[in-house]
Symmetry: D2
Subunit: 323 residues, 4 copies
């Protein structure tokens, strides 16, 4: 792997895109990208990992106590009530025989909290996944081709936690700006043992410890600020391992600041439109990681079914790991 | 079971509530209700049901093509874009090195489409689950006690489909107004065979065929209008089976019109605040049902993790069944 | 005026656009269109019309009891509470010294109810007002050139009511499909007398009676269905009178069905991008009209200041007429 | 006026409430409070103030560049597009004859930007305006009694600017924490001359310079932080002058920090439920103030018609002053 030329993100993206492209791999009509790697056999393998039946939600909370600060109109979720128990108890809701109800509504950016990026989320020079024109895919009506609903029934299989924070960090956390390389991932796998092997169709969860730090110190710049994350140089690893998806406990999956002088999320630009990779962000891996550290088992059954908002380019998810 | 007195829903609710109450069963502080029945052993049992690895999403779509008509301010989900591929392709988004993006936001009632009712959704004479005052539980700030986030990691286990529509209906559909009794459920279980047994901790999916009819004929009054559904008289069955949750393919779980002259969802009034039952509504069971009819296996590994909107009294969910 | 060729809306639009264009009239940078006609002198003239001091709101209500049915994701306004008096009275809001509060939020399409169309609302073959490329004007970020905020301080002046429904209709209402021509407008002005004269810089309110009918019979297809409204042939009148804006009591300003075999709002296509005309829709002119009929005075001081949502292509407004 | 006892806001509120109460003044059914003072004669007086015809919008912008930081779920307005010019220019919207369109939607707290507080916004010990129980007025359904729509046609009349910042401050701005007393208001009126007299039915605009400072220095804590504003001791002045409404260029109308050791907006607690006063907040008075300083005329025609969201306890407004 040559050194990155910090002055040339565009060249680096072009080179990696060429090297890692999956365009056409599943036909011209494909809308699933790397989810194609996640097949029924992988689900059987995943289900067989349930030993104790212990379940973990990998979702952060969905509320105003979130990291969003309005960047590009991304607010935290706003939850309001249409009816309340206070009203019901007062008896003024107009229902018969003593029944009362509460009901509610939410307004939220689909990537406000724990989420999957859909394949229509990121483009490279106006091209979306599988080589389509971005404007043919995502209009004001949403993603008419690769909308998140196409993945509604797909994302359940074998999950693997790579707790890089615990394996290589101090007190379980990598520092901000730490670029996780393929070497770091390999070292983590080696440290964690056989249950941490990563292969075709797996759903990989990379824990950096960034969320634990935010939980301790406050959100600060969690959304968009400095953070550990995947190095741009992992593009080849993401492509070569043939994993189905990868999620992190950070806002933006890749290391920040990015590894170029003037850049914005260059690894996304390769991973989503070219590899067709499903990327998860803002997952809460801490409780699961503690359990894995305790029992030494790093793989598990994972269901991470996005809320199938039609045409969404990303979607909230409550991922459930079961060991 | 005596006949229902159509003129006295309040009396019937009171009687059933007394007979079926789980208040205090799991202590005064309990917030989970029947989810307490769903334990690690049940998850092991559920995971062991994965034979082929075939996955089914039981979610309807989340979009404007939904059944909502504004009743009590329930609209269909409104999905809008913050950025689009058309913009990205035009190259005016202001990002460097050719990266472009799309992003989006949703406004939706939490019970607009496929959902779980939380335990704070329904009250009986001002009382919520476990005997709490409704106004102590759900204020304008949401459900501060039994909010749906309390169930975030819980709802994964053994699912059982009771396809009453196929077992007892014509062309797989029960007519509107058909009240499904405990007898009908037993007959369906008997018809479906051993994999359809129902017991403690199970997640039961009752298919009436109402959604299939809406899909064929248009939404019409799907939301709130006439429908097959559970009879009020099933309260004892819901309580006695010790199931963890029950979901239907209808708007409102119970038969409509309700079985009293002047009533509104009386079975909810028993099931949620008194039994502490998790109720799912507007699930799409059709593809799963076809598969079950084909292979004769009616139980499966079900993960139905609600989106954990803090304080929500109901939540959207993309349930995933794996056989 | 030649007959309209019902088979050729595109040709008719092109001809009228050429004939009525104001492109360049106020310079290449203009963002105000016909609001340029509304100057300080016109405001002095308008204010001088206040005789009794009687004020009329010309706004419909903004709530769920509106005409919207979800067309292109236009819902009715959804208003929810962040805090309520019920909560305040219960004393659980956490404020000191007995103060309590209520607060609220709204989600609404900007053209859900009484509104102004902004100049970025409609395009002709990809061209916006003053000849700009539509895509240079309105992106996912909103209207960056002619956003409604540019008109924030402008729309106060002399209002004139043309009560065509009362002048030419039966019981004050024109039938659905009635195309109001320049001749009808002239006849109405003549019938109403000198206070109804229309000229440069005026804000003209055309009452058809369609809203009165909806109020009596229910919304039905008020939003998008059959309606009286301006004939396509009034383009020349709209241009030649040099009015500053025109509002109606209908959903869509122009007659519906439109006067071509296969068309959608062709008069908009001339009026907004070519004339640069401010168009108001869904105004409630009934109370004002009754007053005008009673005292025979059809002009008044009108303030119709749009809510200045930055970049909006339309905006809700509570127009206030004072006589 | 005795000194305030900083340790006893509750006592001070009770005393002022008793002294300044307008309960019953306009009958038991009144929903308008001090707007009753604003009559047709006052509107005639206001209209006569239009000399030049110059119009000023007193609205701040409604967008994400606002001061809100999420306190009690108050976000800045989120404006998103349903259709765009980029889409229209691309020609994929599905409309005939070359017409294209843009459309949009907004989600916003009703008090996110320039607004009127409605009479249901604040309560004193569970009592709303005119002595009603707060819970009888504002439920989850909104304000069913004094909703802002009751004021839809009312708020147009004589406006008076009291530029306390310019009269008594340094460089036109009062410092944060500066409590504007009745004495300061009188001094400002005296300094400004006869056009600044204040009396029954007037709409008073008090400029502190706080917004000018935020414009220069950034929003910082504009929303809820330290600010100049009315002293609690002005309650008597607000009551005795019989003004119809009062608006400021600050977030919260009254001085902050409040003038008691542990208090939250105590003047609101007197002004809204007891005086029945309409309070405007976050108005942009700077351009108008510059004009008044230049020509020495401090009164003007003012239309400040709230967006009539049914049941709202506050409402956005684009106030228009004409001189």
């Amino acid at each position: 792997m040559p050194e990155l030329d910090r002055r040339d993100p565009e060249g680096a993206v072009a080179e990696a895109a060429k090297r890692c492209s999956n365009w056409g791999r599943w036909g011209a009509d494909d809308v699933l990208g790397t989810l194609n790697f996640l097949d029924d056999a992988k689900r059987r393998e995943g289900a067989a990992l349930v030993r104790r039946g212990a379940a973990f939600s990998l979702a952060q909370s969905f509320d105003m106590n979130g990291p969003q600060r309005g960047w590009r109109r991304r607010t935290n979720p706003v939850h309001t009530m249409l009816d309340t128990g206070v009203d019901a108890e007062r008896g003024t809701q107009g229902f018969p025989h003593g029944i009362g109800g509460a009901d509610d509504v939410v307004f939220m950016p689909l990537q406000a909290s724990t989420q999957w990026d859909g394949l229509g989320h990121i483009f490279d020079h106006g091209r979306a996944w599988n080589g389509r024109r971005a404007g043919d895919v995502v209009t004001s009506d949403g993603d008419r081709v690769t909308g998140i609903e196409t993945a509604a029934a797909r994302i359940a299989g074998r999950g693997v936690l790579l707790d890089v924070g615990r394996a290589l960090g101090a007190d379980g956390e990598l520092p901000d700006g730490f670029a996780v390389t393929a070497g770091h991932l390999a070292a983590t796998i080696a440290a964690q043992g056989g249950s941490a092997r990563v292969g075709r169709g797996d759903l990989v969860c990379v824990r950096t410890g960034r969320l634990a730090r935010a939980r301790r110190e406050g959100w600060g710049d969690y959304a968009g600020g400095a953070s550990p994350g995947l190095s741009f140089t992992t593009a080849g690893w993401l492509h070569g391992t043939e994993i189905a998806g990868l999620a992190t406990d950070t806002w933006g999956f890749e290391v920040r600041p990015n590894e170029f002088d003037d850049a914005f999320q260059p690894l996304h630009q390769v991973a989503i439109p070219h590899i067709g990779l499903y990327i998860g962000e803002m997952w809460d891996l801490d409780a699961l990681a503690a359990d894995c550290a305790a029992d030494g088992r790093y793989d598990f059954w994972l269901t991470a079914a996005p809320l199938p908002v039609t045409g969404a380019v990303g979607a909230p998810v409550n991922p459930i790991a079961v060991k």
